[in-house]
């Protein structure tokens, strides 16, 4: 049963998403150069809502996922808010000095979104033998997302994007290598007979 705060969070998420989608779409079609940030904003919101839909479907079967759905909704509100703030500058509704904070804020929120998604990976239902692998993947992506957010928060703006991507990629690669190694190690030996 949804609480009032839950309904408010859902309404806020929908409102902010609508604002971001409208603003990003307008800027995508009216801007001739450097359109990829607006496409990325649309992709991020789409992916976040798709994940929320996935978690919502799981919550119907397992109430433990209700907490995860609330967290994803909160992440959508926060990410959407920062995206909306970032879009104020190209729309001409905010002073140029705010653009650096908006750019860093978007990066930090991207990292937080990765952390939110990675946090619930070990809670996914599946075979028991995959439990350790889901834990490794969750931790690796969580730390990668944390590094991504910290890079955007602390690194000089000129290097923040590269540092953040390298940190996140390191987390992905570590998870991929550990999982691949584990799968190969436990692969059943082929019989010669």
């Amino acid at each position: 049963m949804k609480t009032n705060s839950g309904r408010f969070a859902d309404a806020l998420a929908v409102t902010i998403t609508a604002a971001v989608v409208v603003a990003s779409s307008c800027l995508f079609y009216t801007t001739s150069a450097r359109r990829w940030p607006y496409a990325l904003a649309l992709a991020v919101m789409g992916a976040a809502w798709a994940f929320r839909r996935f978690v919502h479907a799981r919550a119907a079967a397992d109430p433990a996922y209700l907490g995860a759905r609330r967290k994803v909704t909160l992440a959508i509100v926060l990410a959407g808010s920062l995206l909306a703030l970032a879009l104020l500058v190209p729309l001409g509704w905010a002073p140029a000095v705010a653009s650096q904070f908006a750019e860093r804020g978007v990066g930090v929120m991207m990292g937080v979104i990765v952390m939110v998604f990675a946090n619930v990976i070990p809670k996914q239902a599946g075979q028991a033998r995959g439990q350790a692998l889901r834990r490794v993947a969750g931790w690796a992506l969580f730390v990668g997302g944390l590094g991504y957010a910290l890079a955007w928060l602390l690194a000089p703006l000129a290097y923040a994007n590269l540092a953040a991507l390298l940190t996140l990629l390191s987390g992905f690669m570590y998870a991929a290598v550990r999982i691949t190694w584990s799968v190969l190690k436990h692969r059943p030996a082929t019989s010669i007979h």
């Binding site: 433990a64 907490g67 990675a118 946090n119 619930v120 990976i121 070990p122 809670k123 239902a125 028991a128 033998r129 439990q131 350790a132 834990r135 969750g138 931790w139 969580f142």
Partner: protein, 108 residues
């Protein structure tokens, strides 16, 4: 979140979660590690299940438990175990029988 804090506040429940790290275990295998009654263990399993920290599946007559911790819950459990071990290490210095009033008088 309150249920998670309540679940990991008990050292026996923390030990259950630590045992499940190595893989799924049956209720009987978990209970063998503790010197408590079966109803007490069932209560611990129930609290952990309600907090969403473990998952249970029935295999015939046995119940198999597996770990279901998110990354933050895993980190919280690590902190709780660290703090719990620090408290346990410090506790022996504070334990011991209090001197009785007659012993105190003899010292004086």
């Amino acid at each position: 979140m309150n249920s998670v804090f309540k679940a990991i506040s008990d050292p026996s429940r923390r030990q259950v979660l630590a045992l499940l790290r190595s893989g799924p275990l049956t209720a009987g295998e978990l209970a063998d590690h503790f010197n408590v009654s079966k109803p007490t263990m069932s209560a611990h399993f129930s609290i952990l299940r309600e907090a969403g920290l473990i998952d249970s599946t029935k295999q015939g007559k046995t119940v198999l438990y597996c770990l279901k911790l998110s990354v933050l819950e895993d980190a919280l459990l690590g902190f709780a175990q660290l703090l719990g071990s620090n408290v346990a290490a410090a506790a022996p210095l504070q334990q011991g029988p209090r001197p009785s009033s007659s012993q105190k008088k003899e010292k004086l």
